[in-house]
Amino acid sequence: MNHSRTYAQAIAEAGFQAMDMDESVFYVGQGTRDRGYIFGSMEKIFERFGPDRVVEMPISENAVAGVCVGAALGGLRPILVLQRADFVFLALDQLINHASKFHYMFGGRTPVPLVVRLIVGKGWGQGPQHSQSLHSMFAHFPGLRVVAPSEPYSAKGLLLNSVFCDDPVIIVEARPLYEITQSIPQEPYVVPFGRARTVVEGEDITIAALSFMVPEAVQAAGELAEAGKSAEVIDIVSVNPLDINTIVASAEKTGRLLVLDTSWSFCGISAELSAQVNERLFGRLRSPVKRLTIPYCPAPAACDLEEDYYQPASKVAECAEDMILGVC
C-alpha cells in the first residue's frame, strides 16, 4: 500500500521500520529528543524506541563516530545523523582512517555496518560552514558507499538498504528536499546501491544530476520541452558505486551530457562522470560534456550572493540549449 510522504517522513519511516525489524539497529544524533525531530526525519522514533536505542550524542563527533565503528564491530547497526554535513570533518579520522578501511585491513575478518546521515544546508545565509555537500570527497575513498537521494522513494529505500548492508554508508541528504512529497510504499523496501534513475526521457541531451539539482533538472527539461528540445534527466542517486552504464547508455542515445552537481566541480563527481563517459563514448558524443555546479568558492551568506551561487533551472535549461545548438 502506498501513502504520501515527505522526504523527511520517508527517512523517519525507514528509520522507524529498520529499528522495528532489527533490534541491533540504533540511532545516534544531536537533537533526537527535540520536537523538531531533526527537521522531521526522526519523528516518533524516540517516543517509540526510547533512550537506549536513540542515543543523544555529546557534541563530540569524532568519538561518537568511533563509538559507531566499535558498535558495528560488536554486531550493531548504528545510524549516525549530523544536522549539518560540515560537522563531519571532525569525524573523518574515524570514518576514513578506520570505518572505510577496517574490513580491508583486517583481511575481511570483520564488517563495519554503519550509516552516516549528513544533512546539507542551503540558503537563508547558511554560509560557508553549513552548506557543504561532501559526497565527492567521501567517494574518493574506497570502502565507503555514498548515496544522495533526491526524493522520498529513494530516501526511504536507500536508508533501509544502507542499514542492512554490511559496509559503512554515507547518505548525503539535502535540507531543501525535506518538504518534497511523493507517494511511496508503506512497507519497508530497499533501493539497491549503484542504480541511477531515469526521471525524464528525452532525445537531445542527457542531464545527469543529484540531490537538490534533480528538481532543477526536471524543471529545466520542462522549459526545454517548451522550446521544442527534448532532455533526458537522470538522477545519479548513487555516487559510489556509480551507475555509469545507465548514464553512458543515455549519453550514447542523446549524444550530449550535462552534469549538474551540488558541490564543486573540481575533483568532484561531475569530473568523474565526464571522464568515464568521455572514455566510454570516445568519438561518439555530439558535443563536449559540460558541468554546471556551484562556483569554486565557499557558500556566501548574503542572499544576492547566494542566488548567484546556486544554479537554478533556468540556467540549466540555458546551458543545455546552448549545448544542443552547438554554441558552447
Binding site: 523517519a12 525489524m21 519523528e43 569524532n62 566499535g70 560488536g74 583481511g107 544546508g121 547558511q126 559496509d167
Partner: protein
C-alpha cells in the same frame, strides 16, 4: 590469580619480541613493527585477568596485547611476513592485527584511534546485555588527542563496561612527554569528569596486579569505566628492531643491577623468594617457549603465499542489495502512521 602464569606470559611476550627483533633485519617481515620490549607487564597482567568474553583493543604497538589475549602466534608471524594466513590476511601488517576468536578486536596505527572504537565495543556489550568488559590500551601520546576526553565523557555518561589503560613510557617516538604535555601526571586527568584514576609505578608488579584485578571487578560489576596510568619503560626504538634494555637479564644474569629495571626479573625475584619457581623451571620454560616460537615462525614462513594477489576482494563486505530482516518480528508492528506534521522549531 597466579603470578607464575603472569611471569610466564611476560617471558613469552619478551621472547617473541626478541625473536622478531633478531629476524627483522632479514627483511622478510616487511612492515613498520613496534615492539613492546620492556613493556611486557601490562599486557600480561591485563591478559591474565581477562575472560574470553572480554575484549581488547590495541595500538600500533600491540603484539603484547594480542598475545596476552590469546591471539594466535603463528598468525601473528604470518601477518608480519605478509602471508595470506596472517591474522589480517597480510593486509594489515604489524600495526593492524586482529583475532576475533580471542576477542582481540584489532589495532589502529592512528594515535588514540582505537579508544572510541573500544567504547563502541563496550556500548555493544551493554546494548546486547552481554557479559564482558573492554580494555582500551593506549600510550601517553594518546592523552594529547582530544578524542580520548570525548570518549571518556561518553563512556561515563553511558556507564560503559570499559577500562582505559594508559602505558606511559614518557615517549612519543623520540619526544619526551615534558615537551608535549603541560603535566606529566596522567592518572588524575579525568577526575573532574568523575573518573578517579590510579597510577602504578614502573615495575611495581604487585600493585599492577592489584589495580588490574580491582579494575576488572569494578567494571564487571557494572560500576562503569576505570582508568589506570601504568608507568613503563620502552627499551626499543619506537619502530624497528633496535633495542638496548637488559632483555636477557632474567635468565642470563638475573642478579646484575640492570636487572632491577626489568619487570620480569622483578616478578621472578619475588616468586623465587616465595619458593614458587626456581631458575631451572624458568630455563626449561625458556626452552619450551623458544621451541614454540621457532615452530610457529617456521610454520608461518612455510605457509603458502598468495597464488594470485586479489587486491580488491576485501574492500566491501557486502553487495549492492541488502536483505531486510522481514519476519524477524511481526509485520504489523512495521506499519507506521504519521499523525501530524512535525513542528520544525529547529529549522536551520
Amino acid at each position: 590469580m597466579d603470578r607464575v602464569e603472569i611471569v610466564k606470559q611476560m617471558i613469552r611476550i619478551r621472547m617473541v619480541e626478541q625473536y622478531i627483533a633478531a629476524r627483522y633485519p632479514e627483511q622478510k617481515m616487511r612492515c613498520p613493527t613496534h615492539l613492546c620490549l620492556g613493556q611486557e607487564a601490562v599486557p600480561a597482567v591485563y591478559g591474565h585477568f581477562a575472560d574470553e568474553a572480554d575484549i581488547f583493543v590495541g595500538t600500533c604497538r600491540s603484539h603484547g596485547y594480542y598475545l596476552a589475549k590469546g591471539g594466535d602466534l603463528t598468525a601473528l608471524f604470518a601477518e608480519l611476513l605478509g602471508k595470506p594466513g596472517g591474522c589480517s590476511g597480510g593486509f594489515g601488517g604489524s600495526m593492524h592485527i586482529i583475532d576475533l576468536k580471542k576477542n582481540f578486536w584489532g589495532s589502529s596505527a592512528i594515535v588514540a584511534g582505537g579508544i572510541p572504537i573500544a567504547a563502541g565495543a563496550a556500548f555493544s556489550l551493554k546494548y546486547k546485555k552481554k557479559p564482558g568488559v573492554v580494555v582500551a590500551f593506549f600510550g601517553d601520546a594518546a592523552m594529547e588527542e582530544g578524542v580520548v576526553y570525548e570518549t571518556v565523557n561518553f563512556a561515563l555518561l553511558h556507564n560503559l563496561p570499559i577500562m582505559f589503560v594508559c602505558e606511559n613510557n614518557g615517549l612519543a617516538i623520540t619526544t619526551p612527554i615534558e615537551l608535549r604535555q603541560c603535566r606529566t601526571t596522567l592518572y588524575n586527568r579525568f577526575q573532574a569528569m568523575g573518573l578517579a584514576g590510579l597510577r602504578v609505578e614502573e615495575n611495581d608488579i604487585a600493585k599492577l596486579i592489584d589495580v588490574a584485578r580491582k579494575s576488572y571487578d569494578s567494571t564487571r560489576s557494572g560500576l562503569g569505566p576505570t582508568f589506570v596510568e601504568c608507568r613503563v619503560s620502552r627499551w626499543c626504538a619506537h619502530v624497528g628492531s633496535q633495542f638496548d634494555g637488559p632483555v636477557d637479564s632474567w635468565w642470563k644474569e638475573p642478579v646484575r643491577s640492570a636487572a632491577r629495571s626489568c619487570p620480569i626479573c622483578v616478578l621472578m625475584d619475588e616468586l623465587i623468594e616465595e619458593g614458587k619457581i626456581d631458575f631451572q623451571l624458568m630455563r626449561d620454560l625458556k626452552d619450551r617457549i623458544s621451541e614454540e616460537i621457532d615452530s610457529a615462525y617456521r610454520q608461518a614462513e612455510r605457509a603458502s603465499d598468495r597464488a594470485r594477489p586479489n587486491l580488491t576482494e576485501f574492500v566491501y563486505a557486502s553487495g549492492l542489495t541488502s536483505e531486510l530482516p522481514l519476519g524477524k518480528r511481526p509485520i504489523k508492528s512495521i506499519s507506521f502512521e504519521h499523525t501530524e506534521q512535525p513542528k520544525l522549531v529547529n529549522a536551520f
